[in-house]
Amino acid sequence: MDPRFDANSDNIEEYLARHERKQLLRFLTCGSVDDGKSTLIGRLLHDTKGIYEDQLAAVEGASKKYGTQSGQADLALLVDGLRSEREQGITIDVAYRYFSTEHRKFIVADTPGHEQYTRNMATGASTCDLAVLLVDARHGVSVQTRRHCVITSLLGIPKIIIAVNKMDIVDWDQSVYDSICEDFKAFSSKLPDREQHFIPMSALEGDYVAEASEKAPYYTGPTLLELLETIEIGGQEQETPFRMPVNHVIRPDLDFRGFGGRIESGVVRPGDRVTVLPAGTESRVERISTFDGDLDVAGAPRSVAIVLEDEVDASRGDMIVASAEVPATSDRIAADLVWMHEEELQPGREFILRHGTRITPCRIRRIIHRLDVDTLESVEANSLALNEIGRVEIETDSPLVFDPYEAVRGTGSLILVDRIGNWTMAAGMIRGKATEARWTATPISGADRIGEEGLVSADERAARFGQKPATILLTGLAGSGKTRIAAMLERALFDLGRVAIRFDGTTMRKGLNRDLGFSASDRSENLRRSMEAAKLINDEGIICVAAFVAPQAGNREQAKALVGTDRFLVVHCSAPLEHCRAKDPTGLYAHAAERDLDGIPGISFDYEVPERPDLELPTHQIDPEEAVNRILALLSERGFLR
């Protein structure tokens, strides 16, 4: 039933051809109880003729029984489904509604406004491209409004429409509308940027929903329906790198092996270089196979079967990705959880985790903080209760191949399932590797209230010590001479009457970092804590000489950002692996060869060579004295030493 179709003059084949090309927009409606969500959806369905006569008749009958709009058909009853809810007059679960117009098909996730139902909102939001947030003109931006705004932001909904409803009750007063818009903007400016629109309306009377009105002359924008029909959608998921979790391997005979899955991100073409993760096997796409024949190109969110050129072993749970841009792999991640169960989350608890098509046991190592959705502050937490949101560190039995949620929703999301009852306990948005998340974690609320302004200025310290503080990071392979050079540099600075403190990866582990091992994540954490200490030392005017392997370029960048870009120097001790192994000053390489040890940089994991170090020291060619002289020259040249 489509009012724009005229059976007498329109050609059905042409109409169908148009209909077949429609776009799909999934949107969420949210707002407090009584803000008028059900009425709005009922109005949209009614005004787009998405309601049949018998349904309307049923509603008119039911209006007499349950209705709150005395006299008129209560359009809200069109969408309130289960009898128990209808009797209570509330919506207690996510309901999906459908309507279409000339240009688009719409799927509406209708979510309830009760405080305790954050879980339902997150559920509805997870698949939506847009949110319509209702605000009651009489009550303005409430705690609930802010909360819903935050949840839609956390769940990564890129666009939001703020529908200021019930304007009829406030006589379409412009000052009411303007102040609600201002209040909302003031709050949403604290959240990551996204497209937002404001519309004054009366869902009950239909103004500015599907039909334009003159009741708000100060509003010259489109009606809600016009906006829904024209707002730019889709495409984002095809602009990110190719990712396809393998769902089902199709192998009818020995001649065909297709990896069936839905493309979560990007596009793929025959001939593309792809990598199967976590194994890391590379191949090329031979065919993109479908029931309707092979495709020349396929993009998200299509379901296809990919045939690779080589005999590659891949199964459900693996991910096929663009070789040029592979996602991160880690068994230790940081994620924001929406906790969905009555039983509280405690650290140490084990779950079944689902990410993409991979299912793995996991453990919550710690709760990093809870997000106070009203103030947007991170607060300390030992548990998470139903409908609370918090950041946690998760350790998985098998590694996850992921992108941060804000980059790719499909490969950055996860759910946690109870091991015994199989209930879905939490939804999670992956923020990064646990260690990387530590580098950028926001301080827990209250941390900024302690401490007093110092009474000694930076200039006074510089004058006293004859230096400007800096952190000199000596990075390189084990055996490249970092430790020796660091010791000699400290001696040289001391002899010149300057003040320096020396940090060494090994000595830091004897105290401050005694709880850390040698995994990539622990190495990262070792460096992070040491750099926090270096920062404190620099703040006191003192030079820090830091000798660390620091194999990851990302970590070195984070260290620089942490300490301060204008006082952080990367000095690369560039003796090659063969040289370090032959020299082997600590016997590490010999020991490793004997015992088959893990954790040797350059052997068991990559050492990422610094691309643009402040100074490169070819330590296999020059002696330590020369190395120290070059560093001192650099410090003078950059103005750190007077």
């Binding site: 169908l16 018998d54 679960d93 509604r97 279409s100 192998r251 190109v297 199989n422």
Partner: protein
């Protein structure tokens, strides 16, 4: 507008989602089965299942719960499809119901539906030890279905409890169940009636000819046009079937399925009629009108 390499229409998006769900079932369950009710939704779902596993065969059987009161044309269509596509088709009827001569005319639609549909379905699912039954229900069909999950959890007695349904986020389906528990999976959840017809038209999917208008013998019962498909229908004194041009918007048991008067004898004409129609498709189904909230009660008992 963003220039997409591979822009998807709404039908392609829905198709991709359905294929993903069907594959998920095949990968996650030990003994899945696909419900095959012979109607248009089943025909489309079967088509999508073929797409999901092409060029391989569908890796699970199809199940038809035969109430013994289906239209004869439906049964003929079912057998032809099964043989043409080489389907592994299971047909089950409730033997106790047959022994008691269960009839919608004698026992009323409520009892009849319970015995010949709901109980028969549970028997078949238990006998096959199926842990997942794929059904063709859509959320737009009826209000109580609007909140149905894609993976709908059922307890050991095949019962649906709104309180035990799990939240579904992204496409991260939670398919885990305990011993004896099962799941009903609904890959067509997000399709509407118009989407289904448009897709059938676009993909040229075969449907039972009863969907197209033809002269058929009709009697009128409580305002519903009932087709006299065989001589089991008790005619009132003086009542004689009239030949009328009708078609069916939904197909089920002929005594419980009302026809609509129509001249639409091609698929395009059917869609044309639907575009100007003023009543929803389930109106032809007697079962939904037994009482406000009746579908909700039937689902709790184990009906699809």
């Amino acid at each position: 507008m963003t220039s997409l390499q591979d822009p998807l229409s709404h039908l392609q998006s829905l198709e991709a989602e359905s294929i993903d769900i069907i594959r998920e079932v095949a990968s996650s369950f030990q003994r899945p089965v696909m419900m095959y009710s012979i109607g248009k939704d089943s025909s489309m779902m079967l088509h999508l299942a073929r797409k999901a596993f092409a060029p391989g065969p569908i890796p699970f059987p199809m199940l038809h719960v035969d109430t013994t009161w289906k239209f004869r044309e439906m049964i003929a269509f079912r057998d032809k499809v099964a043989s043409d596509l080489g389907l592994d088709l299971i047909v089950h009827s409730n033997p106790e119901g047959i022994a008691e001569g269960m009839s919608p005319f004698v026992h009323g639609s409520r009892v009849y539906t319970d015995v010949m549909k709901t109980q028969a379905l549970k028997q078949a699912l238990s006998a096959g030890r199926f842990d997942c039954a794929i059904g063709g229900a859509r959320r737009d069909e009826e209000k109580s279905r609007a909140k149905e999950r894609v993976f709908s959890f059922r307890d050991r007695n095949h019962r649906w409890d709104p309180k035990t349904q799990r939240p579904e986020l992204w496409n991260l389906w939670n398919t885990r169940i305990g011993p004896g528990e099962s799941v009903r999976a609904f890959p067509l959840s997000n399709w509407t009636e118009l989407d289904v017809w448009t897709y059938i038209h676009l993909e040229k999917i075969d449907v039972v000819p009863l969907y197209l208008a033809a002269e058929r013998p009709i009697v009128e019962r409580d305002g519903a046009l009932i087709m006299v498909d065989d001589d089991r229908i008790p005619l009132e004194p003086g009542e004689t079937p009239q030949m009328r041009s009708v078609r069916f918007r939904t197909l089920g048991c002929y005594p419980l399925t009302g026809a609509v008067e129509s001249e639409a004898s091609t698929l395009s004409e059917v869609i044309t009629e639907m575009l100007v129609a003023r009543t929803s498709e389930r109106q032809g189904r007697v079962i939904d009108h037994d009482g406000d909230g009746s579908m909700e009660d039937k689902k709790k008992e184990g009906y699809f």
